[in-house]
């Protein structure tokens, strides 16, 4: 059987021409591969060198952009900036009260033409330099502002950079070059070292330098915190006042005031709720799960505050959540008012969940870490824990009842003046210096973990219509070293306020700098 003849025109044939073409294709492919690798390597090198040099990338001429130049001197920062041709922009310097959410008052502004420019900021941010700030545009001084040494008379202990406010509503984003806020040094002797720990949301002295559209204006930052675009872990309430924050102990309410240079709780409160049939919700209730912060006295809607410059008060609701459907689940309303910058209002919310409650009790805790040793009812003289224990020397004997509890002594204070509309109670440490300095200087306090903020006076204002019964827990025992006296003498460990739940009036808890 013979095979069919091969069709030479259709079969692949070896030829020198085909070999040359094939070789040429491989050569071009290899050359492209090598050129691609070289291109990749050169691009890497170039981007590294551009980053090192602080030059603007050449590809973004139609965008507003900046690159920071390598720093060559203390207090000087320079940027190469590109401003799109044909568009109007202003270079602005704002100095004054500032926070992560706020724009300080503009102290100088200059039109910046389209094209590439160099901007230099000088920050003479010391009392010696009288807090002088200067801005140079292409080498020419265009903005200069001296705040004066009184701006921060004791200087500042730390500073930190700020981002542009996240809540800023504008169609085109401004270009921020630099922003700092300063932690002013408290008025303390030089030998005292104080380490303040505030946060970037507190209003402090500072500055922002940015490039912006000439018609952009900015409202003052809201005095409140807790809007949806803000981190809830920083607390809700007043930016510079008291903020409610979730506690690690689920039953406890804690309030911080970072303006007093600490993120630690300044107020820790535990409440008890008692119904007419004797049911109690307290920190010991096993079915209690958590306090949930809500937008309304009923329902499960999350807190949703709307930013409105005209709003001077904000409220939030704490809903007790229980494992048991039959469990007592009170709702407590919190209120912040810009007219009361040191305080937070608390009341039982006007909601069916609270109808069974006849009495409630607030225990303000942690006096031993605050060294509360001075207490005042109304405008009576200040008393010490020892005075309270021997109250017959200061008050009518009939007005003080002492009951022994281990390790504290609870002293009831008869305090209601029927003619007054409010009862005011104030208490504070007996120290003038911040307790972290007291802890450093007085070794007896070592290990007590004293409150780290500036000296703080606390207070509560209660309407008499709530028929408050006040009592204080006094301890003279060391909290950890059993059998040892509390260093420096007894302290008020807790303040207890028992109230009738018949009215829905506000109780105002306050924390302010001790004078």
């Amino acid at each position: 059987m013979s095979e069919p003849p091969l069709n030479r025109s259709q079969a692949a044939r070896f030829s020198v021409l085909n070999l040359l073409v094939f070789t040429a294709l491989i050569a071009v492919g290899l050359a492209i591969g090598l050129a691609y690798r070289l291109n990749h390597s050169l691009n890497d090198q170039l981007s590294q060198l551009v980053a090192l040099s602080g030059r603007l990338p050449l590809t973004k001429e139609d965008e507003l952009g900046s690159v920071k130049m390598p720093a060559v001197a203390d207090n000087f920062d320079s940027w190469h900036v590109n401003v799109p041709i044909g568009q109007d922009y202003d270079l602005r310097l704002g100095i004054g009260a500032i926070s992560e959410s706020g724009i300080p008052p503009i102290v100088g502004s200059v039109r910046i033409p389209g094209g590439q420019h160099r901007i230099t900021l000088y920050t003479g941010d010391s009392t010696k330099d009288e807090f002088r700030y200067a801005v140079y545009l292409d080498g020419t001084l265009v903005i200069e502002k001296t705040m004066g040494s009184d701006w921060m008379p004791n200087g500042w202990s730390s500073s930190h950079g700020l981002d542009w406010p996240r809540s800023s509503k504008s169609s085109s984003s401004p270009l921020q070059l630099s922003a700092q806020s300063y932690a002013s040094k408290p008025n303390l002797d030089r030998e005292h070292y104080f380490n303040g720990q505030s946060d970037e949301y507190v209003t402090r002295p500072g500055y922002r330098l940015w490039i912006d559209k000439p018609d952009h204006t900015y409202e003052a930052a809201s005095p409140f915190m807790g809007f949806p675009d803000e981190p809830q872990h920083q607390g809700i309430g007043l930016r510079d006042g008291l903020r409610y924050r979730m506690a690690s102990l689920p039953y406890r309410w804690i309030f911080t005031r970072p303006k007093l240079e600490t993120r630690e709780p300044v107020l820790a409160v535990e409440a008890e709720f008692i119904t007419s049939d004797g049911t109690v919700l307290s920190s010991q209730t096993p079915t209690f799960q958590a306090w949930k912060i809500r937008n309304a006295p009923t329902g499960n809607a999350f807190l949703l505050w709307q930013e409105d410059a005209s709003q001077t008060t904000q409220t939030a609701f704490l809903h007790a959540v229980s494992n048991s459907a039959d469990g007592l689940q009170p709702v407590v309303e919190l209120k912040w008012d810009v007219a009361q910058p040191d305080a937070v209002g608390i009341r039982l919310a006007d909601t069916p969940a609270n109808e069974q409650i006849v009495r409630w009790r607030l225990r303000i805790l942690d006096g031993s870490s605050h060294l509360w040793r001075e207490l005042q009812i109304g405008d009576r003289p200040w008393i010490t824990p020892t005075d309270a224990l021997n109250a017959d020397k200061l008050l009518d004997k009939s007005s003080v009842k002492t009951s022994e509890k281990t390790p504290n002594k609870t002293i009831e204070l008869e305090s209601v003046d029927a003619s007054a509309s409010d009862i005011q109670l104030r208490w504070q440490p007996n120290e003038k210096l911040p307790l972290q300095i007291v802890e450093q200087k007085d070794k007896r306090y070592a290990g007590l973990r004293l409150y780290q903020g500036l000296p703080t006076r606390l207070g509560v204002q209660i309407p008499t219509v709530l028929k408050p019964k006040l009592s204080v827990d006094v301890t003279d025992k060391h909290p950890t070293n059993t059998g040892t006296a509390f260093p420096g003498g007894p302290v008020f460990d807790a303040i207890q306020i028992e109230l009738e739940a018949v009215e829905r009036d506000w109780i105002w808890l306050s924390a302010e700098l001790k004078e």
Binding site: V21, L25, L38, R55, A73, D74
Partner: protein, 244 residues
């Protein structure tokens, strides 16, 4: 069919040639841009990625409005290998010509070692403040100042500057386990013989800036105090470049 194959081959060839021409033009542009920046920032070829490479920038880019406020500026382009764990030390007082001895105040700082290699500019400059000389440094994202005590700022122009790397001599590379005295400045007219740790040495008013591997931190501390560390090997300290 044969025509189609030929046409396709020609098209591939032309497209390939076009791509090659594009890459060639683009690479020429990039290379000239790299050359231009390397002329400013110093040319540095990284042959061994595990060594520290340093080249001095001959003319640091200093804005004129800043230049009028500083007394002297030195800038180095540095390549730091992956996981290079180092600290930086700056201080002024009295120094010697050929050791790391330094009396007076100093400051040191360090960060966490980078996981990949980094290139960074190291800048040092001096500013006069209240008749004192403030040494400024900026390196790898951190910056700071130290006051160089006993250092007469009015004589800065006549000071001798010892550099580990010199722009005229080109880049140098160093083993990671080497102390790098990048810059030493001293006033030659202030020589004084001192008894330090049982040895008579000549000291001068001046100061120095040193990069040091964290593993040799204790060694640097002892050398700064004029002591000789146990089992000390002189090769642990890089020597300054000498002008011909």
């Amino acid at each position: 069919m044969r025509f189609a194959i030929r046409l396709l081959t020609i098209l591939i060839f032309l497209a390939g040639f076009g791509i090659l021409v594009y890459f060639s033009i683009e690479n020429n542009r990039l290379a000239s841009e790299v050359d231009r920046l390397e002329a400013e920032l110093g040319k540095m070829v990284i042959k061994d990625v595990n060594r520290v490479h340093i080249v001095e920038i001959a003319a640091p880019d200093v804005p004129p409005e800043v230049a009028s406020h500083i007394e002297g500026v030195w800038q180095f382009r540095c390549y730091l290998p992956p996981k290079y764990n180092y600290m930086q030390m700056s201080g002024g007082g009295r120094v010697t010509l050929d050791s790391l001895y330094q009396s007076g105040g100093f400051s040191s700082s360090w960060g966490s070692p980078p996981s990949t290699s980094v290139q960074s500019l190291l800048t040092m400059s001096f500013q006069k403040k209240d008749k004192r000389l403030i040494a400024f440094y900026s390196f790898s994202g951190s910056r700071g100042t130290t006051s160089w005590n006993n250092f007469n700022p009015d004589r800065l122009a006549t000071m001798v500057v010892q550099k580990l790397v010199n722009s005229k001599k080109g880049p140098r590379s160093f083993d990671q386990e080497t102390i790098l005295p990048l810059l030493k400045i001293y006033d030659p007219t202030t020589a004084k013989n001192q008894e330090i740790e049982g040895k008579s040495i000549t000291t001068y008013e001046g100061g120095q800036f040193v990069l040091c591997p964290k593993s040799l931190e204790t060694c640097l501390q002892q050398l700064r105090e004029g002591k000789t560390p146990q089992d000390f090997n002189p090769n642990w300290v890089a020597t300054a470049v000498v002008d011909e």
